[in-house]
Assembly symmetry: C2
Homo-oligomer: 340 residues x 2
């Protein structure tokens, strides 16, 4: 999540993703392809990348078949691939740049699913990067595009721009007030989806949500982005107002203060508890209840100690107890280094 | 709990109390006395105290009728009076020295209930102090003593020595192992009582217990003390062995580490939670799981933030929220000063 520019609205917006879904003109959709055809497509994408000096310098290729289950899940935790991409790894591959802000899934639901990430709210910058990459790849791969339907995709819901813009939001105060599901219902009428980013329950882990457009047809990329940006700004203001109110509560101040102390001192830390505590701390920083901690660092910590990513870092299979212990250790070290 | 001598077994024994129960020869038992008779007795005790230079210099008198309910409850929390002493304050008074290690209740169940406290396990020293005070008071007040029955007391269970020796023990590991009730049953056959010191449930607050003799007849003070001392040493060894085992557990290490961090950082602290956390910290110090903290300081903190004592320090009636907030503040300040 490195970014030279100032990061916008990062008290609420963790990061911005632009996804572009593309298919090659002369190749059947993924569901109709054999494994060897998929491997051949991987080769073609690899050639397209290697032909471009800019891309070949920054991208590395990960053959999904070569990964352990844990390594693959870690890619999901790092927002590099979708959970669906794991269901069948055969003939699937991933191109990813060094800081993991740009990636290309090959043979997910569609031939090409490219994704650009920016820290905070930065739809325009993320789109420009994705658009540039799209142009380069299109030159060699020739994406299927129809004058009336736009980019052709396997699932018709993606027809048109084939673009999903998505914001990862931290909404602890709106969640606390119970307003998220009402907001979510209203947004759905505006062509946007707001849903928990982590965990499947009504109370998503860490109060992390994803706001994205679900209409790709009948409006341009810029219109979709402007729409999302405008709604996001309203949501951000609502969250901030709710936070200001919440921060007055002594109970909340207590919770925030304890949460940081527990992260700094625990010897065992379960994933669910961690997500709740880091959410409390992030809120506390935003509300000025505790000393500032860089949001980017909090985001990094959040990803670093996710179950699979932690296990990969551990270098071997871990028992649940070992994982909780390693997580607590990583968190303590991380926070101590930040303070040093 | 100040003490020049090294404090013995203070990892398990919080403090030692010797109680002596006495009645004046020429005065009816308390239950038969009118309020004015009780006040007259207070006067006689006051005279006995003032006649002795050593006593008059160190004792102050507290008329129980002059206290607010909260101030009176604070005396219970500081182990200076019994809870029964509060039930009816009329004609009742308390003499107490400056560091609150020696006190005399006048007109509790009996005319005189004197009490000496020592930090840690120190039955002999506490008894010597109590015995010396007893001798001084006896000279002026002439306690009722029968060749066959010993000291005469209103309740026959106290006949004989009229002495209760009691040890305040911290038994977190034995409690955790569930062994306390079994031990308690066995001790009762040996003429000793082991019961929770704080709270009335099966799980006494803070794992604080009281071990005391319940036989005062048929054996001398020295025999009773030797008996209690010997049983206490066995109990201390059992607790230490259980602690060593418990300290191996990662869960327990986690609990201890978190408990200290929460005490250092909470903004609100309920009494029950505090007692559990301070118990965990005390255990952690004893087991070497955290940096040493002086036991005497932990004991001081434990008393300082008890509900009534805290309210008295607050100087006004506190709402439950204010009390929890003040408690958290006192604890944070106290621990910070210890670290400084």
């Amino acid at each position: 999540m490195s970014n030279q520019n100032p990061v916008c609205e990062e008290d609420v917006v963790i990061c911005t993703h632009i996804h572009l879904i593309r298919n090659l003109r002369d190749v059947p959709f993924v569901s109709k392809m054999s494994r060897s055809e998929r491997q051949k497509l991987e080769q073609r994408v690899a050639s397209a990348v290697s032909e471009n000096e800019g891309l070949s310098r920054v991208f590395r290729f990960i053959d999904m078949e070569s990964l352990s289950k844990t390594e693959a899940v870690s890619l999901v935790e790092r927002f590099l691939i979708s959970a669906d991409f794991l269901s069948d790894c055969r003939g699937r591959g991933l191109f990813v740049n060094e800081d993991e802000t740009v990636s290309v899934m090959v043979n997910e639901e569609d031939h090409i699913h490219l994704q650009c990430e920016q820290a905070g709210l930065n739809l325009q910058k993320a789109f420009e990067k994705a658009d540039g990459l799209d142009d380069i790849l299109d030159k060699s791969l020739h994406f299927a595009f129809d004058e009336n339907l736009g980019y052709l995709t396997q699932n018709p819901v993606n027809l048109g721009t084939g673009m999903r813009a998505s914001l990862t939001l931290h909404l602890p105060a709106l969640r606390e007030g119970g307003g998220v599901s009402r907001i979510s219902t209203n947004l759905s009428k505006l062509g946007l989806a707001l849903r928990g980013a982590l965990g499947s329950g009504a109370e998503p882990k860490g109060a992390v949500y994803q706001l994205s457009n679900h209409v790709t047809f009948g409006l341009s990329e810029q219109e979709a982005i402007a729409n999302l940006q405008s709604i996001a700004m309203q949501l951000i203001e609502q969250e901030r107002a709710a936070r200001t109110e919440l921060a007055e509560s002594l109970e909340i101040q207590d919770t925030v203060s304890r949460s940081l102390a527990i992260l700094q001192s625990a010897r065992m830390m379960a994933d669910d508890e961690f997500m709740q505590l880091i959410s409390n701390v992030r809120f506390g920083v935003a509300a000025g209840l505790i000393d500032p901690i860089d949001y980017g660092e909090l985001n990094r910590l959040m990803i670093m100690v996710q179950p699979a990513t932690l296990t990969v870092a551990g270098g071997r299979k871990l028992t649940p107890t070992e994982r909780r212990s390693l997580r607590a250790e990583k968190i303590r070290d991380f926070l101590q280094k930040l303070n040093a």
